[in-house]
Symmetry: C2
Subunit: 110 residues, 2 copies
């Protein structure tokens, strides 16, 4: 499957989540990550996700959403709330979250 | 050095660059990446960069800027133009670029 998200014409929203994995519990983490990637696409307004984590455990996940209401609904989804709790307490030593409105896409020209 | 960017209170801008590395020319690519990370912080309005590339060569780089004028100026910087040209022709099999206005940051609460 392509790691690139197929998003519509802007405007739409991006949630930029950067995180540093704590060592350990790789299987629990992977299981939850897989589950979240099953659930997120069922949320209204979900547009796609792009994600990369380097060998040092630093990762960036950008999920794309139709509007802020869709982001809020996903944030409050029950299983996702539990994932957030475990992320804070166990899986991530640090993270940051930015909500941004995608206004345009580049075309490679100056 | 921390991979997390220290950004001010929103609003500010994010350039979300996702890319798939083509195999080969690792040294040329690394050299240019290093050079760009020397130059970008000298640009007016530069706020920081976060970057991760996974073992399959898929990467996300998010750079943060004060405003759109700062993004435009960096896009037109001479050495950066050459880097963009080599990226298109040699280093990336595919990429996408999104310009987004960061409106708020998450606090981990629902």
């Amino acid at each position: 499957m392509s790691p690139f998200a197929r998003t519509p014409e802007p405007p739409y929203y991006a949630v930029i989540f950067t995180s540093q994995r704590s060592p350990g519990d790789e299987s629990g983490y992977e299981e939850m990550a897989t589950r979240m990637m099953e659930l997120a696409p069922r949320q209204p307004g979900y547009l796609g996700t792009e994600s990369a984590r380097d060998g040092d455990g630093f990762g960036i996940t950008v999920s794309y959403w139709r509007d802020e209401a869709a982001i809020t609904a996903w944030k409050q989804q029950a299983e996702h709330l539990e994932a957030q709790r475990l992320g804070r307490n166990k899986w991530y030593s640090r993270f940051s979250l930015r909500i941004a409105k995608v206004e345009r896409v580049g075309n490679g020209k100056p």
